[in-house]
Amino acid sequence: MKKEKTRIFGWLSGMKLKQKMRYFFLLITLSYLVLFILLYVFYLRGNMTEYMKKSNKDTLVSTSNSFIHELDRVSTLSHLIIKNNFVRNYLKADQGDLQLARDAMSVLYDFNSTINNISSIYVIRLDGEFFNVSNSITNFNQEYIKEEAWISKIADRSGGCLISINGDGVFHHRSNKPLISMLRMIYDVDSQQPIGYLAINFFNDMLYSVLSGVEGEDKLLSFYTADGTVICDDILGEKYPDINIGAGEIGQYEMNKNGRQEIVSYYQIPDTPLILVSIEKTSIFKYVSWNIILIFIAVLLVFGAGMTGIGIFVSKTITTPIERLSQSMSNVKTGWLHRVSIDLPNDEIGHLKVSYNNMLVEINRLIEQLVEKETQAQRAELEILQEQIKPHFLYNTLDTIGYLALEKPRDEVYDAIETLGNFYRKFLSKGSNEIELREEVAIIRDYLTLQKLRYDNIIKDIYEIDEALMEYGIPKLILQPLVENSIYHGIRLKGECGIIKISAYEKEEILFIHVYDNGIGMSQDQMKNLLMKNNSRSFGFKGTIERIQYFYDRKDVYEIRSEEGEYCEVILKLPARRKKYV
């Protein structure tokens, strides 16, 4: 798991900035889409269903109302029949009189021609005699009107209409089409006793006309009976599904059909055996208006365009310049530190370039300084060596020894030659720039021994160095030039025998080495000029100090004290450490 994480992070960080940017934008777009889908599924969709349910319920109620209204209209018009004298006379007659029936028929015809969708109209006497007008062949089962249950149902309406299917079994259309029957009792005006029945049978086409205009593309409406039979056949020829009708007057539930959600609503039309059912397929377009969808698409497009714009902007102003800058910078890998010379805008990236260039300039300067310093130090050392090796010291000493050979005992000559050889061996020894203090002191001893031979013992040399310090490492040949200065610029100019004293001690991890002479010393001005001017005295001193400063990489390495005519003392302050053996 951790490995996976590391791998992914590695993959991410290994990508170019541009790639990262692309993936980032893709991610944002995707999350936007996901957000929308979630919004739709969990919020919009729920809302939509609620809305649809309510809308369906309203539709059902209003449709049912218009249906009832239609029935009321028919019911009102049926008074024309009930109150007709010919009809009444026919009903009140002791038995069914054909002549009376014929007189009453005209009312039925009028009625029939006024109301649409009428299948048949029956006027029935209590004894079962009847006359009728039919638009199609309808069977009339007289058995039923003798039945108490059937009669009481109508009587219960107390003059009102009873709506039933097929007149509760009294009527039957030949084509098996269900008939919507409106039955009512006819009473005598004087006695208020029932004298007969009026039955108006409608084709179920009457229901179609109620539904027409309410139905939509994804919305089906139909009338069912309480036992689930479809009264009104599907207009589009589509089979109506079986639905579960609960006990309530009104009910709604969701149903899945072929992966599509449908909302089923039913409404028990009051005072009828009919149940109005609507089945609607849910569709977002129905409830989210096209405008909103267009706005949404527009927002999506604007968002996409914005993202693309930002991408292009970021690419143009950030990633591309950075890429170019980094490409240009990568030249540094090839070795020399070239400055970046590409054109960049004068923003942070441009500043980055400028800073980078400044840094390079600084680095180059430092490198040059370092090289310069190194060269200077080497040159200084070389010059010191050349000054000595340029063999005037050797030649002069050889002449001195030549004189000794002629004048002095042999062993003195041998001593001198041995000293000379020893001096040059150490002096010219190659290898480390660092030598032990012991070796440097040995060089001084030999050097002074030879100089004393040349200048008739005008020098007395004294060494005050703790044996423990002898192993400390110091840069090579830093004392010899100082001692040489002591002879040539101090003691010899005084005309008296002089002292050169080398002393060393350690204090707070600093190795102090004093080179003291009691020659003519220096004035304040001379001391100041020592590091400024280029005379033979300052040459040896300056070069030596510079070498020491470079060797230890610190400025504070010496002190100089002098009193004119009295003494001169150079104090070297070196970090106390043992020689490093490489």
């Binding site: 340029k390 063999p391 005037h392 010291f393 030649y395 002069n396 050889l398 002449d399 001195t400 030549g402 004189y403 000794l404 002629l406 004048e407 031979l453 040349r454 200048y455 008739d456 040539y488 010899r492 100019l493 005084k494 005309g495 008296e496 003519i520 005519g565």
Partner: protein, 241 residues
């Protein structure tokens, strides 16, 4: 025999030259030596060399400086420069001012012999010096005053005074001795030492006094002090303090 003077700050080298070169065979004789240019200025009129062998690197007055002065005052005198510095700049300067030979240390006898032979040839061809200008009745007081005024010049000597007054050097020397009973250089240096005594009593260090009285080489000054005063400078200071 040509007269030779050796000027070198190393005694060993002077000795080596004296002992190692067959001077007589080449027609030379070493008649004097000096440990510095300053000493040489003071003694050269006594020594009267035909040839000076001089080292370049010397304190107070180096070989080149000395040679320039000597060539001006003693036009006939030959100069051989000896040096351990194999330096083209020096060599060029030496040829420019009329130095006869430029030899490198360490000493190689054959080279020196050859140089000496060449110089001897040149000396042979030289016309002996004549007493050219002689002025009579020179006021010795005026002469002494000049010396007293210029004692602190380190390059003043018999020759420079003679040149200044337009005398022949040997005439001046003889005349001064006859008039005063002492050599001119002794007069100059004893005057310098009298001044030096004053400085000594002011507790000045020897090398400073030496500079002040016109003998900036404290070694030679020390010699002079002892010679004219009888005791060394430091001893003198002890006696008076």
């Amino acid at each position: 025999m040509y007269r030779v003077m050796i000027i070198d700050d190393e005694r060993a080298l002077r000795e080596l030259l004296k002992k190692n070169i067959k001077w007589e065979e080449l027609g030379y004789k070493v008649v004097g030596e000096a440990a510095s240019g300053i000493e040489a200025i003071n003694t050269i009129d006594d020594i009267r060399p035909d040839l000076v062998m001089v080292d370049i690197r010397m304190p107070f007055m180096d070989g080149i400086e000395f040679s320039k002065l000597a060539i001006k005052r003693y036009p006939r005198m030959k100069i051989i420069v000896l040096t351990a510095y194999d330096d083209f700049q020096y060599a060029k300067e030496c040829i420019g001012i009329g130095i006869s030979q430029y030899l490198l240390k360490p000493i190689v006898r054959a080279d020196i012999h050859e140089a000496l032979k060449k110089v001897a040839e040149q000396l042979k061809d030289e016309i002996p010096e004549e007493d050219s200008i002689i002025r009579e009745n020179t006021n010795i007081v005026y002469l002494k005053q000049y010396i007293r005024d210029h004692y602190n010049c380190s390059d003043i000597n018999l020759s420079s005074i003679a040149q200044h007054f337009g005398f022949n050097t040997s005439y001046l020397s003889r005349m001064f001795k006859a008039e005063t009973g002492e050599n001119l250089i002794d007069f100059l240096n004893s005057y310098r030492m009298e001044i030096a005594k004053k400085h000594a009593s002011e507790n000045k260090m020897m090398y400073i006094t030496a500079k002040l009285v016109g003998i900036p080489d404290p070694n030679y000054f020390g010699k002079c002090f002892k010679k004219y005063i009888g005791i060394s400078y430091s001893e003198y200071q002890k006696t008076i303090l």
